[in-house]
């Protein structure tokens, strides 16, 4: 089976600093993969490269057999690759439901739909997902008025609205109250069970270990280890670099 996402030799530099240094990463359809590593190890930068928000200095990315190395972000999204952001990006002045209804699969938006109002099917899907993510009663609130945790959920909802085949989740649990973290984990499992692949950047290692089939560890921009959660946790290099640094 060929990988859904297949990135090879991704390099990204900022001035003199090499943030991502030749990383290979792949995700198969329906897989749930964790991406962990200490602060500044290049996780978010790698995400930015994969979703094409950042340009890469070298390397190549394929998604579903299409070379997306030079694609623009919206083209990637239209192929079925959605993402969330570590620093939450919702449309603060729009209401929660407007945020959702705007995050549809734009590949199917022709001129007529572009200049049309929200159709019932979209509204139903948005309502369903808001219900699913426990945001239903906030649907008419301005997104800017939500709490951080609610905004994270909204962002996940927006990513799911586009009927993605792969979602890149950046720090889905940070700033979220612990009771909600459990809910989020349940929701992600359900989503994954429906066949949506997930690549997860997380600080919360136990969250990753619990959810993911496979874990990739980054350190200082390079891939340090890869394997099942169990294998990775026992890798001495990982313990040294990751947990050593974390526990200072």
């Amino acid at each position: 089976m060929t990988a859904l996402l297949d990135a090879r030799g991704v390099v990204k530099r900022f001035g003199g600093l090499t943030a991502v240094d030749g990383v290979d990463i792949s995700v198969s359809a329906g897989e749930m993969v964790g991406l962990i590593g200490p602060n500044g190890s290049g996780k978010t930068t790698l995400f930015d490269c994969l979703s094409r928000v950042s340009s890469l200095d070298s390397g190549s990315i394929r998604f579903d057999g299409v070379d997306i190395t030079r694609h623009r972000p919206h083209q990637v999204a239209r192929l079925g690759l959605a993402r969330t952001f570590q620093l939450i990006r919702v449309y603060r002045e729009l209401t929660v439901s407007e945020n959702m209804e705007l995050s549809i699969q734009w590949a199917r938006v022709g001129t007529a739909r572009l200049f049309g109002r929200t159709d019932p099917a979209t509204r139903r899907r948005a309502d369903y997902l808001l219900e699913f993510l426990l945001l239903a009663r906030l649907r008419d609130e301005r997104a800017g008025a939500l709490s951080g945790g609610q905004r994270r959920l909204l962002e996940i909802g927006m990513a799911l609205m586009s009927e993605p085949r792969l979602v890149l989740l950046d720090e889905a649990t940070s700033g979220v109250n612990p009771a909600l973290v459990v809910e989020i984990a349940d929701r992600l499992r359900e989503v994954n069970a429906d066949g949506v692949a997930i690549l997860l950047v997380e600080h919360n290692v136990s969250f990753v270990a619990e959810l993911c089939h496979r874990v990739v560890v980054l350190d200082r921009g390079a891939k340090l280890a890869e394997g099942t959660p169990g294998q990775v946790m026992e890798d001495p290099a990982v313990i040294e670099a990751y947990f050593g640094a974390e526990g200072e």
Binding site: A77, R89, Y91, L94, E98, Q105, R117, S147, G149
Partner: protein, 350 residues
Amino acid sequence: MSGTPSQPRPTARRDRSRLRRLLVRASVGLLILLAVLPALPGVGDAALFTLTLMLTSVAVAVNWNLTGGFTGYVDFGHAVWFGIGAYTTAILMSLQTNGPQIGWAAPPAIILGAVVAGVLAAAIGRATMRLKGPYFSIALLGTFVAVREIVRVSGGLTGGGVGLTLPPYLNRPLFYYLQLALVAGLVAFTWWLRSTRFGTALVAIREDEVGAETRGINTTRLKVTVFSFAGFSTGLFGGLWAYQNTFVDPDIAFVEVRTIDAVMGTMLGGLGTVAGPVVGTVALFWLRELLWAHLLDYHLIAQGVLLIVIVLFLPRGVVGIIDPRGTSLTALWRRWTGRGARSDEPEREP
């Protein structure tokens, strides 16, 4: 930062729909009033001309608001499209010895003027709309000044600094009704546009362009389209203005004041709202008549002070005051003293 959702406000939506009804009724009333105005005693051609100029300002502000208000791209050179529309019309209609001798009729000349403005706006927008914040603003201001100078030095086509004269045709009521219809149509169009996916997507671009792009919105296409439309529409009013003014030269066709008025009117009325630029520009016009009569040379000073007051205390404009989601007086005071939250403004990196 608690996980507990804040209490939903069931009244908010009702207030908003009441406000919308109010605005719709008010605009219909206003439209009827404006339509019967020429028939009223004491309203002569001169008053109609004044109102026509006001309508022109309203249209420019509405167009500016499409990019500046909805999309968040603050165009400091918007008057350039007005000038291009005016000049194209003048060039096509001119029969002068110091310029081209084409001699088209007005309607096709004005329409082509608008098209030229729209096409150039698309080209310029394509190049400059990847710039952000103040860089975009100043790049457009630069474009404005550069185009004015290009017009000035292209004497063979534009008559240079001397300008061009158009065949005079001065049917004030005709222009008044034409522009009234166009402005009414334009405002209705904006209102409709805001309710479509396209319009909401524009606001999304303003709120978070990277977010919008990664969620599949072709932000470049959308913002360049709306920028081009704004250029087209302002160019149309530029052409109409040129025809009524009977002549153009670089310094009256390309005036910074037209941009300033659009920005000020929109800010006063409410940035990024449908009614804002209309309410604000009419208020500004009326305010200026008052200031003009009593302050003479001081009116621009007063206008500057007004702008500071609007920007600092009324960031949501007049429409923001009557909008139930608008700012309260205490919030205004907090804004000035720098204490307390400014949750109604999106944070941006400096």
